[in-house]
Protein backbone atom coordinates (compact mmCIF):
# COMPACT_ATOMS: atom_id res chain seq x y z
CA UNK A 1 0.00 0.00 0.00
CA UNK A 2 2.81 2.39 0.96
CA UNK A 3 4.83 1.74 -2.17
CA UNK A 4 1.77 1.78 -4.42
CA UNK A 5 0.80 5.17 -2.99
CA UNK A 6 4.31 6.48 -3.54
CA UNK A 7 4.32 5.15 -7.10
CA UNK A 8 1.06 6.96 -7.85
CA UNK A 9 2.40 10.17 -6.32
CA UNK A 10 5.47 9.88 -8.55
CA UNK A 11 3.12 9.40 -11.48
CA UNK A 12 1.24 12.62 -10.64
CA UNK A 13 4.59 14.42 -10.50
CA UNK A 14 5.68 12.87 -13.81
CA UNK A 15 2.44 13.83 -15.55
CA UNK A 16 2.70 17.33 -14.08
CA UNK A 17 6.23 17.73 -15.40
CA UNK A 18 5.15 16.40 -18.81
CA UNK A 19 2.31 18.91 -19.05
CA UNK A 20 4.28 21.82 -17.64
CA UNK A 21 7.13 21.91 -20.15
CA UNK A 22 9.84 21.56 -17.49
CA UNK A 23 11.12 18.49 -19.34
CA UNK A 24 11.63 20.49 -22.53
CA UNK A 25 15.06 22.19 -22.65
CA UNK A 26 14.01 24.54 -25.43
CA UNK A 27 11.21 25.90 -23.27
CA UNK A 28 13.38 26.07 -20.16
CA UNK A 29 16.16 27.91 -21.95
CA UNK A 30 13.70 30.33 -23.52
CA UNK A 31 12.31 31.07 -20.07
CA UNK A 32 15.73 32.38 -19.10
CA UNK A 33 16.42 34.13 -22.37
CA UNK A 34 15.07 37.56 -21.47
CA UNK A 35 17.27 39.17 -24.10
CA UNK A 36 16.04 36.93 -26.91
CA UNK A 37 13.13 34.53 -27.32
CA UNK A 38 11.49 34.84 -23.92
CA UNK A 39 8.86 32.31 -22.84
CA UNK A 40 7.37 33.22 -19.45
CA UNK A 41 5.36 29.97 -19.13
CA UNK A 42 7.59 28.35 -16.55
CA UNK A 43 6.87 31.05 -14.01
CA UNK A 44 3.37 29.57 -13.94
CA UNK A 45 4.78 26.11 -13.19
CA UNK A 46 6.68 27.24 -10.15
CA UNK A 47 3.89 29.62 -9.13
CA UNK A 48 1.23 26.91 -9.29
CA UNK A 49 3.42 24.38 -7.52
CA UNK A 50 4.42 26.73 -4.71
CA UNK A 51 0.87 27.95 -4.01
CA UNK A 52 -0.57 24.42 -3.89
CA UNK A 53 2.32 23.14 -1.76
CA UNK A 54 2.14 26.17 0.56
CA UNK A 55 -1.51 25.60 1.49
CA UNK A 56 -1.21 21.81 1.26
CA UNK A 57 1.77 21.64 3.62
CA UNK A 58 0.02 23.87 6.14
CA UNK A 59 -2.86 21.41 6.23
CA UNK A 60 -0.80 18.23 6.19
CA UNK A 61 1.80 19.26 8.74
CA UNK A 62 -0.93 19.91 11.32
CA UNK A 63 -1.61 16.19 11.40
CA UNK A 64 0.15 14.01 13.96
CA UNK A 65 2.21 12.31 11.27
CA UNK A 66 2.17 10.90 7.77
CA UNK A 67 0.02 7.90 6.90
CA UNK A 68 2.85 5.46 6.22
CA UNK A 69 5.73 6.72 8.34
CA UNK A 70 6.51 7.55 11.94
CA UNK A 71 7.26 11.22 11.40
CA UNK A 72 7.61 14.11 8.99
CA UNK A 73 11.17 14.34 7.64
CA UNK A 74 11.42 18.09 7.19
CA UNK A 75 14.84 19.75 6.88
CA UNK A 76 15.65 21.82 9.95
CA UNK A 77 18.84 23.48 8.72
CA UNK A 78 18.35 27.23 8.34
CA UNK A 79 21.96 28.28 7.79
CA UNK A 80 22.77 29.97 4.52
CA UNK A 81 26.37 29.08 3.83
CA UNK A 82 28.87 29.08 1.00
CA UNK A 83 28.16 25.44 0.23
CA UNK A 84 24.48 26.17 -0.38
CA UNK A 85 25.14 29.26 -2.50
CA UNK A 86 28.13 27.86 -4.38
CA UNK A 87 26.35 24.59 -5.10
CA UNK A 88 23.24 26.42 -6.29
CA UNK A 89 25.36 28.69 -8.50
CA UNK A 90 27.02 25.64 -10.12
CA UNK A 91 23.64 23.99 -10.56
CA UNK A 92 22.43 27.09 -12.41
CA UNK A 93 25.40 27.02 -14.77
CA UNK A 94 24.69 23.38 -15.59
CA UNK A 95 20.98 24.06 -16.01
CA UNK A 96 21.72 26.98 -18.32
CA UNK A 97 24.11 24.88 -20.42
CA UNK A 98 21.87 21.82 -20.78
CA UNK A 99 18.30 23.04 -20.24
CA UNK A 100 17.59 20.04 -18.02
CA UNK A 101 17.13 20.04 -14.24
CA UNK A 102 16.78 16.80 -12.25
CA UNK A 103 13.04 17.18 -11.66
CA UNK A 104 12.46 17.68 -15.36
CA UNK A 105 14.86 15.05 -16.63
CA UNK A 106 13.82 12.10 -14.42
CA UNK A 107 10.21 11.91 -15.70
CA UNK A 108 11.51 12.62 -19.22
CA UNK A 109 13.52 9.38 -19.03
CA UNK A 110 10.16 7.72 -19.71
CA UNK A 111 10.28 8.97 -23.29
CA UNK A 112 13.46 6.96 -23.87
CA UNK A 113 15.12 9.92 -25.57
CA UNK A 114 18.91 9.54 -25.73
CA UNK A 115 19.48 13.18 -24.81
CA UNK A 116 17.70 12.66 -21.49
CA UNK A 117 19.61 9.46 -20.79
CA UNK A 118 22.93 11.15 -21.57
CA UNK A 119 22.10 14.08 -19.28
CA UNK A 120 20.99 11.77 -16.47
CA UNK A 121 24.16 9.66 -16.64
CA UNK A 122 26.25 12.83 -16.45
CA UNK A 123 24.06 14.03 -13.57
CA UNK A 124 24.65 10.83 -11.60
CA UNK A 125 28.38 11.03 -12.38
CA UNK A 126 28.44 14.56 -10.96
CA UNK A 127 26.64 13.37 -7.83
CA UNK A 128 29.12 10.51 -7.50
CA UNK A 129 32.09 12.85 -7.76
CA UNK A 130 30.58 15.22 -5.18
CA UNK A 131 30.00 12.30 -2.83
CA UNK A 132 33.54 11.05 -3.42
CA UNK A 133 35.02 14.44 -2.58
CA UNK A 134 32.83 14.68 0.50
CA UNK A 135 33.69 11.21 1.69
CA UNK A 136 37.37 11.96 1.38
CA UNK A 137 37.20 15.30 3.12
CA UNK A 138 35.04 13.98 5.92
CA UNK A 139 32.29 16.47 5.35
CA UNK A 140 28.63 15.78 4.92
CA UNK A 141 25.77 17.01 2.82
CA UNK A 142 22.66 18.51 4.30
CA UNK A 143 20.15 17.19 1.88
CA UNK A 144 16.42 17.04 1.65
CA UNK A 145 16.79 13.33 1.00
CA UNK A 146 17.19 12.55 4.67
CA UNK A 147 19.92 11.14 6.85
CA UNK A 148 20.52 8.16 4.60
CA UNK A 149 22.32 10.45 2.21
CA UNK A 150 24.96 11.14 4.77
CA UNK A 151 26.22 7.60 4.79
CA UNK A 152 29.22 6.94 2.60
CA UNK A 153 27.75 4.65 -0.01
CA UNK A 154 29.53 1.95 -1.89
CA UNK A 155 27.25 0.74 -4.62
CA UNK A 156 25.17 1.84 -7.57
CA UNK A 157 25.73 2.04 -11.29
CA UNK A 158 28.19 4.90 -11.40
CA UNK A 159 29.99 4.72 -8.07
CA UNK A 160 33.49 3.95 -9.08
CA UNK A 161 34.92 5.51 -6.04
CA UNK A 162 33.28 5.81 -2.66
CA UNK A 163 34.29 2.30 -1.64
CA UNK A 164 37.64 3.71 -0.58
CA UNK A 165 38.47 4.81 2.92
CA UNK A 166 34.94 5.24 4.21
CA UNK A 167 36.41 5.48 7.63
CA UNK A 168 35.13 5.76 11.15
CA UNK A 169 36.28 9.33 11.11
CA UNK A 170 33.93 10.11 8.24
CA UNK A 171 31.06 8.33 9.87
CA UNK A 172 31.48 9.94 13.25
CA UNK A 173 31.72 13.62 12.49
Amino acid sequence: MRLISVYLIGLIFGVGISISGMANPEKVLNFFDFAGTWNPSLAFVMGGGVVVAFFGYRTVLKREGPSFDQMFHVPQNRTIDLKLLGGSAIFGIGWGLSGFCPGGALPALGTGRWEVILFTLALIAGMAVARYINTHTGKRFQTPGGPELHQPAAHGPLTEAPRGPATEQNLSN
Partner: protein, 142 residues
Protein backbone atom coordinates in the same frame (compact mmCIF):
# COMPACT_ATOMS: atom_id res chain seq x y z
CA UNK B 1 12.39 40.84 -26.52
CA UNK B 2 10.13 38.40 -28.31
CA UNK B 3 7.67 36.24 -26.41
CA UNK B 4 7.38 32.74 -27.90
CA UNK B 5 5.26 29.65 -27.42
CA UNK B 6 3.47 30.97 -24.32
CA UNK B 7 1.40 28.27 -22.57
CA UNK B 8 0.32 29.70 -19.22
CA UNK B 9 -2.65 27.39 -18.61
CA UNK B 10 -0.85 24.13 -19.37
CA UNK B 11 2.11 25.26 -17.32
CA UNK B 12 -0.10 26.31 -14.43
CA UNK B 13 -1.93 22.98 -14.50
CA UNK B 14 1.37 21.08 -14.62
CA UNK B 15 2.64 23.16 -11.71
CA UNK B 16 -0.51 22.43 -9.69
CA UNK B 17 0.02 18.69 -10.22
CA UNK B 18 3.65 19.02 -9.13
CA UNK B 19 2.56 20.86 -5.99
CA UNK B 20 -0.16 18.29 -5.37
CA UNK B 21 2.37 15.47 -5.64
CA UNK B 22 4.61 17.26 -3.12
CA UNK B 23 1.73 17.61 -0.65
CA UNK B 24 0.63 13.99 -1.09
CA UNK B 25 4.18 12.72 -0.58
CA UNK B 26 4.38 14.63 2.69
CA UNK B 27 0.97 13.30 3.74
CA UNK B 28 1.82 9.71 2.81
CA UNK B 29 5.39 9.21 4.01
CA UNK B 30 6.47 12.60 5.40
CA UNK B 31 9.09 13.34 2.75
CA UNK B 32 10.10 16.36 0.70
CA UNK B 33 9.53 15.93 -3.05
CA UNK B 34 13.06 16.78 -4.15
CA UNK B 35 14.28 15.09 -7.30
CA UNK B 36 17.90 15.56 -6.28
CA UNK B 37 17.69 13.91 -2.88
CA UNK B 38 15.47 11.12 -4.16
CA UNK B 39 17.71 10.22 -7.10
CA UNK B 40 20.91 10.52 -5.11
CA UNK B 41 19.66 8.33 -2.27
CA UNK B 42 17.99 5.86 -4.63
CA UNK B 43 21.35 5.29 -6.30
CA UNK B 44 23.81 5.76 -3.46
CA UNK B 45 22.13 5.21 -0.08
CA UNK B 46 22.47 1.90 1.70
CA UNK B 47 18.95 1.47 3.01
CA UNK B 48 15.39 2.76 2.73
CA UNK B 49 15.66 2.85 -1.04
CA UNK B 50 12.40 1.07 -1.93
CA UNK B 51 10.13 4.13 -1.71
CA UNK B 52 12.58 6.20 -3.72
CA UNK B 53 12.64 3.68 -6.56
CA UNK B 54 8.84 3.44 -6.40
CA UNK B 55 8.63 7.23 -6.71
CA UNK B 56 11.13 7.28 -9.59
CA UNK B 57 9.17 4.53 -11.35
CA UNK B 58 6.04 6.65 -11.03
CA UNK B 59 7.84 9.72 -12.40
CA UNK B 60 9.19 7.80 -15.39
CA UNK B 61 5.68 6.51 -16.13
CA UNK B 62 4.42 10.09 -16.42
CA UNK B 63 5.16 10.64 -20.12
CA UNK B 64 3.40 7.37 -21.08
CA UNK B 65 0.23 8.51 -19.30
CA UNK B 66 0.59 11.85 -21.06
CA UNK B 67 0.86 9.94 -24.35
CA UNK B 68 -2.29 7.94 -23.61
CA UNK B 69 -4.22 11.07 -22.67
CA UNK B 70 -3.10 13.34 -25.48
CA UNK B 71 -1.95 11.04 -28.27
CA UNK B 72 1.58 12.41 -28.36
CA UNK B 73 4.71 12.36 -26.23
CA UNK B 74 5.56 15.47 -24.24
CA UNK B 75 7.54 17.80 -26.46
CA UNK B 76 11.28 17.60 -25.85
CA UNK B 77 13.38 19.79 -28.09
CA UNK B 78 17.06 19.87 -27.25
CA UNK B 79 18.72 22.93 -28.76
CA UNK B 80 22.16 22.15 -27.29
CA UNK B 81 25.03 19.84 -28.22
CA UNK B 82 25.73 16.44 -26.62
CA UNK B 83 28.81 18.01 -25.04
CA UNK B 84 26.62 20.66 -23.39
CA UNK B 85 24.37 17.89 -22.05
CA UNK B 86 27.35 16.04 -20.57
CA UNK B 87 29.07 19.09 -19.08
CA UNK B 88 25.75 20.57 -17.98
CA UNK B 89 24.57 17.32 -16.42
CA UNK B 90 27.85 16.88 -14.59
CA UNK B 91 27.74 20.44 -13.21
CA UNK B 92 24.10 19.98 -12.18
CA UNK B 93 25.09 16.79 -10.32
CA UNK B 94 27.89 18.57 -8.46
CA UNK B 95 25.81 21.68 -7.81
CA UNK B 96 22.67 20.04 -6.47
CA UNK B 97 24.76 17.83 -4.18
CA UNK B 98 26.44 20.82 -2.55
CA UNK B 99 23.36 23.02 -2.84
CA UNK B 100 21.16 20.34 -1.24
CA UNK B 101 18.46 20.50 -3.86
CA UNK B 102 17.14 21.76 -7.15
CA UNK B 103 14.04 23.19 -8.74
CA UNK B 104 11.68 20.72 -7.07
CA UNK B 105 13.19 20.49 -3.58
CA UNK B 106 14.10 24.16 -3.17
CA UNK B 107 11.97 25.73 -5.88
CA UNK B 108 8.63 24.19 -4.97
CA UNK B 109 8.85 22.45 -1.59
CA UNK B 110 11.35 24.81 0.05
CA UNK B 111 9.66 28.02 -1.04
CA UNK B 112 6.31 26.58 0.08
CA UNK B 113 7.83 25.93 3.52
CA UNK B 114 9.22 29.49 3.52
CA UNK B 115 12.71 28.09 4.06
CA UNK B 116 15.33 30.87 3.98
CA UNK B 117 17.89 28.42 2.57
CA UNK B 118 15.57 27.64 -0.32
CA UNK B 119 14.92 31.30 -1.08
CA UNK B 120 18.68 31.89 -1.17
CA UNK B 121 19.24 28.80 -3.34
CA UNK B 122 16.48 29.66 -5.82
CA UNK B 123 17.64 33.26 -6.25
CA UNK B 124 21.20 32.03 -6.77
CA UNK B 125 20.50 29.35 -9.34
CA UNK B 126 17.96 31.46 -11.22
CA UNK B 127 20.60 34.19 -11.53
CA UNK B 128 23.40 31.90 -12.72
CA UNK B 129 21.09 30.05 -15.12
CA UNK B 130 19.95 33.31 -16.72
CA UNK B 131 23.55 34.54 -16.87
CA UNK B 132 24.70 31.28 -18.47
CA UNK B 133 21.93 31.41 -21.08
CA UNK B 134 22.78 35.02 -21.82
CA UNK B 135 26.48 34.28 -22.24
CA UNK B 136 25.91 31.17 -24.36
CA UNK B 137 23.29 32.70 -26.64
CA UNK B 138 24.23 36.35 -26.90
CA UNK B 139 27.92 36.68 -26.11
CA UNK B 140 29.68 33.52 -27.26
CA UNK B 141 26.93 32.08 -29.43
CA UNK B 142 25.19 33.08 -32.63
Amino acid sequence: MEIVNFTPLASLFGGVLIGLAAVLLMAAIGRIMGATGILSAAVFAEDDRAWRWALLAGMVSGPAVFLMATGSWPEITVPVSPLALIVGGFLVGIGVSYGSGCTSGHGVCGLARLSPRSFAAVLTFMATTALTVFLVRHVFGG
